[in-house]
């Protein structure tokens, strides 16, 4: 799965490529709009990450050319400007997502994963599982090592999200947005508390901890060797 980054600031581009490559994506970086457009039009990429301000051709022009050529490659915009009109303009042209600098890399990664997943067929799972933790989507029940665990509706939604995206570091803002539909910057520590309470129910009685905090980035559900 190949990603294309078109970003003219060398440092930003370099770290984006490094981060995405280490997350397991085959990533290509170009620093000017014209080359970016040429590559984007080849149709070889699963996702385009475009900076808005670029030398040669700006991100919007590239997006227009891509959509004009009939390609529906997902496009994620990066910009330092946060004007509502820009956002609207981007979505009108067919952008799939929009991130304003400064953004957290974990946030970018989560969105990249969302966009890439969107293309795939959503599996109709009836249950989700990790190690001895099992979540029954139909009966809305959670068990660990056969023991029934009672969760509130939001705790269930939170655990479902962690299980669906196990192994991914989920930033707090993404969790707030997906589980509680809170789509704004907030420096509240609600998410920390919610995770702590979920941990209390899921992990505290078991030696094999599944919910992990990645300092400064978010939370991840995964099995780690003891």
């Amino acid at each position: 799965m190949k990603l294309l980054i078109v970003e003219d600031q060398p440092k930003t581009g370099h770290y984006l490529r490094q981060g995405l490559s280490e997350a397991g994506y085959n990533t290509e970086l170009v620093t000017d709009g014209a080359t970016g457009q040429q590559l984007a039009l080849s149709g070889d990429y699963a996702l385009l990450i475009l900076d808005v301000m670029l030398p040669g051709r700006d991100g919007w022009q590239i997006l227009q050319a891509v959509r004009g050529a009939g390609l529906d490659t997902p496009v994620l915009f990066l910009t330092a400007r946060d004007a509502v009109e820009d956002r609207v303009h981007g979505f009108e042209l067919g952008a799939d997502d929009y991130l304003v600098k400064p953004f957290a890399f974990s946030e970018l990664l989560a969105r990249v994963r969302s966009l890439l997943r969107r293309g795939g067929v959503a599996q109709q799972e009836t249950s989700l599982q990790l190690a001895d933790l099992r979540l029954d989507l139909i009966r809305r029940r959670v068990e660990r090592s056969g023991q029934r665990i009672d969760l509130t509706a939001k705790e269930f939604a939170l655990l479902e999200m962690l299980l669906r995206r196990q192994g991914e570091v989920l930033p707090k803002s993404l969790i707030a947005s997906q589980v509680w539909d809170m789509n704004f910057d907030s420096d509240t520590n609600v998410i920390e508390v919610a995770i702590r309470r979920l941990r209390l129910k899921i992990d505290d009685d078991f030696a094999n901890k599944l919910i992990h905090t990645v300092r400064g980035m978010g939370y991840v559900l995964e099995e780690r060797p003891a």
Binding site: D82, V84, A104, N183, F184, A194
Partner: protein
């Protein structure tokens, strides 16, 4: 005239008024005196006319001449000419009588060779058509001199009084305008460093007191905004300086000598926290800057505020349970507004309320759907806030507790300022109320058009 000073204008106006008034009075007086002189002359000449007629009543010529001379000698400045009905001169009492005299009957005035005369023409015997004509001349040069002197005096008075009032007027205007000059003095002394200067309102005349009050109020507002602005700039610098110095110090110390891998990881994590804090701060400040420039444009969708509040209360439920605080909502309201913005505004209020509610306390959201708009309040139990601090709560970087806990996920103190900006962008107002045992934030939102 446009560039003349106010004092000069007033002085000139005063002078012109005085000149007009004194000129008018002078002319009136001079006319009256002249009329008075004419009346006196008329009486005198009428009396003399009777005397002359009487003297000439008898035809006895020799005797008549003597009586005439006797009659005339009693008035030195009087002279007489007698003419035939056909204009032939018959008698002159003096040699210096002008050749041509007016023939109109009655009184007239004549000027000849530097001498002024009052002339009275009358028939010797009014009953007879061929009666000789009598012309009595009264030398009135001294009267005329007097009148001329008086006219000069009048002109002098006009000029001098105009000059005097101009000077007095200028002085009066200058002293009358002194409060204005004081005002301008204060205004010219006002700069960013001295916005605390105020005009003494009590000393001002009533006409200027109002202006002084407005002027002072303007200075007050400017001072207030400026204080806030400079405090804001200073705060920004301070807020950024702390994490920046942490980053610098920590990074430099880490790099001074080789360390185990875990130390580097720890350093990066610590840096990450500071950086995230700074990113959040910058984002919040940009949000506020956008609000200040009127760029915060809420979308308008129909919202059920009761439902929105419930969603938020559910979001904050874990935090509240942790803090053993009860969350509740009563009332409901419908409003057109921006869902995410209003959620953010309310979320800041709830977060703030939870922060200051002691265990076993409660946070209540109450809303009333009125005809004019919606009133929504967020109230929490706990220690009240002193009234003088209430308006300051919305100041940027204001913290009820000045001691910031370093390194924690402590707020930058922009939450309530952001809430206020959002409410204002919706055309509403927010205020804080407090008393012993509770604190309440009241939002008034007008119904969207």
């Amino acid at each position: 005239m446009r560039h003349l000073s106010l004092s000069s204008r007033l002085a000139l106006l005063f002078a012109a008024c005085t000149a007009v008034v004194s000129l008018f009075a002078g002319v009136l007086f001079s006319r009256a005196s002249e009329a008075h002189f004419i009346e006196l002359d008329q009486q005198l000449l009428d009396g003399k006319l009777i005397g002359v007629r009487r003297a000439l009543a008898d035809a006895n010529a020799a005797d008549a001449t003597a009586r005439l001379a006797d009659e005339l000698s009693r008035q030195a400045d009087l002279s007489l000419r007698i003419t035939d009905p056909n204009g032939q001169r018959r008698y002159d009492s003096a040699t210096d009588i002008p050749q041509d005299l007016p023939h109109t009957p009655g009184l007239s005035t004549l000027s000849h060779d530097g001498t002024d005369y009052r002339v009275l023409n009358a028939a010797l015997n009014p009953d007879r058509a061929d009666s000789p004509q009598l012309t009595l001349l009264l030398d009135i040069t001294h009267h005329q001199h007097f009148l001329q002197r008086m006219q000069r005096l009048i002109w002098l008075t006009v000029g001098l009084s105009a000059l005097a009032t101009a000077l007095l007027g200028a002085w009066a205007a200058r002293s009358g305008l002194r409060p204005l000059r004081r005002m301008s003095g204060v205004a010219s002394g006002v700069s960013a460093q001295s916005l605390n200067a105020r005009l003494p309102e009590a000393d001002m005349p009533p006409e200027l007191a109002e202006m002084a009050r407005h002027f002072n109020a303007m200075l007050g507002r400017l001072d207030d905004s400026f204080q806030r602005l400079s405090a804001f700039s200073a705060d920004i610098a301070h807020e950024l300086r702390t994490p920046l110095s942490n980053l610098l110090t920590h990074t430099q110390v880490t790099l001074t000598r080789p360390r185990p891998l875990e130390d580097y990881r720890e350093a990066l994590h610590s840096n990450l926290e500071e950086l995230q804090w700074m990113a959040q701060l910058v984002n919040d400040m940009l949000y506020l800057a956008k609000a200040d420039h009127g760029l915060l444009m809420p979308s308008r969708e129909s919202l059920e505020l009761g439902d929105e509040t419930d969603v938020l209360l559910e979001f904050f439920a874990p935090l509240a349970e942790d803090a053993r605080v009860t969350l509740s909502r009563d009332g409901s309201a419908r409003l057109d507004g921006d869902r995410n913005m209003l959620r953010r505004a309310l979320s800041n209020l709830l977060d703030n309320a939870l922060r200051f509610t002691p265990p076993d306390g409660e946070v209540r959201v109450h809303m009333v759907d009125g005809p004019q708009g919606v009133s929504l309040s967020v109230e929490n139990s706990g220690e009240g806030i002193s009234p003088e601090l209430l308006p300051r709560l919305f100041d940027r970087f204001y913290r009820a507790d000045p001691a910031r806990h370093e390194g924690s996920s402590e707020h930058a103190g922009l939450g309530l300022a952001i809430t206020q900006s959002i409410i204002r962008a919706h055309g509403g107002t927010i205020r804080g109320e407090s008393a012993a045992g509770w604190t309440r934030f009241v939002i008034e939102l007008p119904r969207g058009d």
